[in-house]
Amino acid sequence: MSSAAIPKASFDWLPLALVPLLALLALPLIGSPSTWLTLTIAGLAMGMIVFVTASGLTLVFGLMDVLNFGHGVFIAFGAYVATTVFAGMADWTSVDSLLRNLVAVFAAMAAAMALAGAIGWAFERVMVRPVYGQHLKQILITMGGMIIGEELIKVIWGPEQRPLALPEALRGSILIGDAAIGKYRVLAVAIGAFVLAAMLHVLVRTKIGLLVRAGVQDREMVEALGYRIRRLFVGVFVVGSALAGLGGVMWGLFQQNVIPQLGAQVNVLIFIVIIIGGLGSTLGCFVGALLVGLLVNYTGFIAPVFTAFASIALMVAVLLWRPQGLYPVANR
């Protein structure tokens, strides 16, 4: 087919451009370029972690209109599984070998994703399936699921805070000029970029991805075309839960400790991100997560008292500008 005859479809670059724009606006406010670079990498790392945790939630909402307030429990389980894996692989995390450390980190991530995915499958069958199409009941039952999950964590791992120290070779920073770039943050950005690339590949290049994107817009029509959207939804729910487990490991390592309430704490942030992005939009979720990550880090440096307020203020500003979020999903 001749591409010359095809009119160009315009991509909406404006929301994506907000990320470098925010970074550039912060530079004169921070003053020092090296501090700005350190904060920017930290913000991008945080944004990537939030994106990994929130991406499943936005697809679950987009595809089946399910408000899963229990999503945070998969994050918490992921982080706690990492503490157990690290305890069992102490020889691999305490040695100053990047390769052995990475093996331990990836083992923890694989275990966390497997457990979170399995819990997600059970959660969908037992708690979510009976309340399809009933938002109020969804909120109540998934919040209940979150409480049960937190209590289970206390039973299994105890109620106290547990340390999740970075492996030896991932501690400290790389110096670029005067800027100190945390080694783990570089790894977090790399993992986040890999997850984004993998998600975009599946969503854009495969038939399954096409079905997910179509299902987010009009699930009834997808069924009328002959596809079983329920099966697709269970698959997305399990993958979303597994990604939340992965995000839990990344978040735990970012904080270097975990508490049973971790899920509830992160839940607020990821809901802000998916609302900013446009409910159901993967690209919107990504841009929203980066904006939140950068803004929280910049605000923490420039005006620490406003840090807790920064992400909410961003959400309000975005919704005043675009009430459906940065990248609204068509037909919703």
Binding site: M1, S3, A5, I6, P7, A9, K207, L210, L211, R213, A214, Q217, D218, E220, M221, V222, E223, A224, L225, G226, Y227, R228, I229, V329, A330, N331
Partner: protein
């Protein structure tokens, strides 16, 4: 002519509303059957009930002799029934190409779709080739309708259910649509077409069923309705009167 689709005493409730009150009609194999009637007569509900999008509370829907009214929508579609809803059901964020690929259940990639069939579709609807990589949400109303119909025929289907394809379209576009559907009709495709545009119904229909208040009030050959002005007056007058 044997019936490919048969509705027998179909009732449908939506919540507490009783919409269909015992709908009976047949869609003969290889013919275009028009389902006419005023707004709110139950035409769209009938199509949605056939597709399993709303459950029949009583009666039977049979396809090729087998009951389908208890089946799930994807199972019904997999029998070879394609549905073009009144809203067109276009996936606006997907390109024209992706919309067609999605409708081709047997294709994993666009190259898997029969090239001859795709060329035939481009012949029917040239705009789809022009806007191949364009987001479907940005097409005009007429182009979206063409895409919706193209999606229904991208693979051979045994029955097409099309809901008011002329709705909201300019007369010139409706003319193009009639020409394309006439070409489709020439391939002996079985179609159940809901319309309020009598000119379109006259141009395409072999048989007709007229609905009013959730019931079929007339069944017969389209030619008979076209030739019998008294019958037209009674049935279409009833329809026009209901709009006033």
């Amino acid at each position: 002519m044997s019936a490919l689709l048969k509705l027998d005493g179909v009732h449908t409730h939506i919540g507490s509303y009783h919409i269909l009150h015992g709908v009976d009609f047949e869609v003969p194999l290889g013919q275009v059957t028009m389902l006419l009637g005023r707004n709110g007569a139950g035409k769209t509900t009938t199509l949605r009930t056939i597709m399993g999008l709303w459950a029949a509370s009583a009666g039977t829907v049979s396809f090729d002799g087998a009951p389908i009214h208890r089946r799930q929508t994807p199972d019904i579609a997999q029998l070879g029934i394609a549905y073009v809803p009144e809203s067109m059901g276009i996936f606006g964020d997907l390109t024209v190409r992706e919309n067609l690929l999605l409708a081709a259940r047997g294709a994993r990639r666009i190259d898997d779709i029969d090239t001859q069939r795709l060329d035939w579709i481009f012949g029917l609807f040239p705009a789809l080739k022009k806007f191949w990589l364009y987001p479907a949400g940005k097409l005009s109303g007429g182009q979206k309708q063409m895409l919706a119909i193209a999606r229904a025929i991208v693979e051979p289907r045994r029955l097409l259910l099309i809901d008011e394809p002329s709705k909201g379209l300019a007369p010139a576009i409706v003319g193009n649509l009639i020409a394309a559907l006439r070409e489709l009709k020439a391939t002996q495709t079985t179609v159940l077409l809901v319309e309020q545009n009598f000119a379109m119904a006259r141009a395409l229909g072999d048989t007709v069923a007229v609905m009013d208040d959730g019931r079929v009030v007339h069944r017969g050959a389209m030619a008979e309705l076209v030739e019998n002005e008294q019958l037209q007056q009674r049935l279409l007058g009833l329809s026009l009167g209901a709009h006033q």
